[in-house]
């Protein structure tokens, strides 16, 4: 008898196999590489060091990473629903959570490849072209370091995974490809600007009584931007940046990820409508 973990691996393997054959991902990687290298070259960051390079690309990465995440994930579950695969899978010992996490994990591997490969190459170019001082590991403010760029990569990967979780949730809620596109656009707008605007309006309107640094942690883009400022770009400031509360930002990104996957799981469970017989059979 197979376990639920085996079922998860089956779904994960299917997603990985699909990703390896999808040439669109190669195209996305090439496009992202062109954009980040174009920006970094324009800002002359690579010859100056890791921190200037991060400053050059941060704004665009903040917008492009969610866009790529939504491109990778917006049809991940919708297609299975349209094809009737979800109905078929409801007759297998595959719990909705294992299906959702399997799909998410498989797409996450594809997404991280698309996002991190261009940035890793950029980091290698910085290592090859920047001044020797950048090769040391920073132990105090004002010193550039590869470690800071690694932090930037980790934060970018985390932001990508969070937006992918939102995209998967959107995909689980859409009942047609057209609706999936519309919901993905709405989701992308919410991630990129909507959440920021909502937080700022709530503060300016006096709707909430909290400090800006904590509230911005609720917005995925602000949380990511704030964490980059607090843990990567801080070396360029003499004082703490105070852009965002680090615990609030980490909690925000984690909350969006877990919450979105929970929404996706509930949506799949609702679609399969496995109320009654199958639940009884699996009890």
């Amino acid at each position: 008898m197979t376990g639920r973990l085996d079922a998860f691996w089956a779904v994960f393997a299917r997603e990985i196999r699909g990703a390896t054959r999808n040439r669109t991902y190669l195209l996305l990687t090439a496009a992202l590489t062109l954009v980040v290298f174009g920006l970094a070259r324009a800002g002359n960051g690579p010859s100056a060091g890791y921190i200037p390079t991060v400053v050059d690309v941060l704004l665009v990465v903040e917008v492009l990473v969610p866009a790529v995440a939504f491109a990778v994930g917006y049809r991940s579950i919708t297609d299975d629903a349209i094809r009737g695969t979800l109905d078929v899978l409801a007759t297998y010992p595959l719990p909705p959570w294992a299906y959702v996490v399997g799909v998410y994990a498989g797409r996450a591997v594809a997404l991280l490849s698309v996002v991190l490969v261009p940035l890793l190459i950029l980091g290698a170019v910085v290592a090859a072209s920047a001044a020797p001082a950048t090769t040391v590991f920073a132990s105090h403010r004002g010193v550039d370091s590869p470690l800071l760029f690694v932090r930037f990569l980790v934060l970018t990967a985390t932001f990508a995974l969070t937006t992918l979780a939102i995209a998967v949730a959107v995909s689980a809620l859409a009942d047609s490809r057209r609706r999936a596109i519309l919901l993905a656009l709405v989701g992308l707008l919410v991630v990129v600007v909507g959440a920021d605007v909502t937080v700022l309006r709530a503060l300016s309107g006096g709707l909430v009584d909290a400090d800006l640094g904590t509230l911005l942690g609720v917005s995925p883009a602000s949380a990511y931007r704030g964490l980059v400022f607090e843990t990567v770009l801080y070396v360029a400031f003499s004082e703490r940046a105070g852009f965002v509360s680090v615990p609030a930002a980490v909690t925000g990104l984690l909350g969006w990820s877990v919450g979105s996957l929970l929404v996706a799981t509930l949506a799949v469970r609702g679609r399969q409508a496995t109320v009654g017989l199958l639940e009884w059979l699996r009890a």
């Binding site: 008898m1 197979t2 085996d6 079922a7 691996w9 089956a10 393997a13 299917r14 196999r17 699909g18 054959r21 999808n22 297609d79 299975d80 094809r83 009737g84 695969t85 109905d87 078929v88 899978l89 409801a90 007759t91 297998y92 010992p93 595959l94 399969q272 409508a273 496995t274 109320v275 009654g276 017989l277 199958l278 009884w280 059979l281």
Partner: protein, 239 residues
């Protein structure tokens, strides 16, 4: 024929103001084929989905009394579609892995053993249906629910599909199938349930139903359902 694996008791289903099924009771015994026939919109697919556990009844209940199994029920949708870009073997492997089954054996059982490397989008309609049946067989579920497995297929492929259905019943499976192909239903089914406007209007063996009119099943069918509803059903006379 053995005891019933699946029982539907006074099952009803409404969609808003529309009653799709009302007070339907059927049993699906092991080692037999039960065919659900009726005009389009008579509730066949709704009943099959309720029997499969994919749709909750608004009234009544469905219970499973078959043997304990990893996957108690296999389901073939009306128009099985598979993720493009994958071969038949890769598709079968995915489903087989979910229940620790052998994908090659599944393909061989439905006659697709010779085309493991063919992309699913390159399969004919009949072969896609056979791949769907292979999927339904994964894990060797005691009950098989097949929604119009021969719909849109040529006569040779339709016969092949129903041959598989008969073999499955001979192997002890409880098979419930919806179909418009009355000659094949008459040949393969041990019991025929005739639905019209969401209700069971007859339920008996093909032979017993034939006796009602003395002619083939399609004549009995035409007598049981409203004439206007019956035109959608493929009968011997129109083939």
């Amino acid at each position: 024929m053995t005891d019933a694996y699946l029982h539907a008791t006074e099952v009803g289903r409404t969609f808003g103001d529309v009653t799709a099924l009302a007070d339907v009771s059927v049993e699906i015994p092991g080692g037999s084929v039960v065919a659900l026939i009726g005009p389009n919109g008579s509730g066949k697919t709704t009943l099959l989905r309720i029997l499969s556990g994919l749709l909750s009844p608004t009234d009544g209940e469905v219970t499973y009394d078959g043997p304990s199994a990893t996957r108690p029920l296999g389901y073939l949708p009306q128009a099985p579609t598979f993720r493009p870009g994958y071969t038949t073997a890769e598709t079968a492997t995915f489903y087989a892995r979910l229940v620790d089954d052998d994908p090659i054996e599944l393909l061989e059982r439905v006659g697709l053993g010779a085309v493991p490397d063919r992309r699913v989008e390159a399969l004919s309609g009949g072969m896609t249906r056979l791949l769907g049946i292979a999927q339904a067989l994964a894990g060797d579920p005691p009950v098989l629910a097949l929604d119009e497995p021969a719909s849109g297929l040529d006569p040779v492929m339709s016969r092949r599909v129903f041959d598989i259905v008969e073999t499955l019943a001979d192997d002890g499976h409880a098979v419930v199938v919806t179909s418009h192909d009355l000659p094949l239903v008459e040949r393969a089914a041990d019991r025929v349930v005739v639905l019209d406007r969401g209700s069971v209007v007859a339920s008996d063996t093909p032979a017993a139903l034939r006796e009602r009119t003395g002619g083939p099943l399609h004549e009995t069918f035409a007598n049981l359902v409203d004439v206007g509803d019956a035109v959608s059903v493929r009968t011997e006379a129109t083939r």
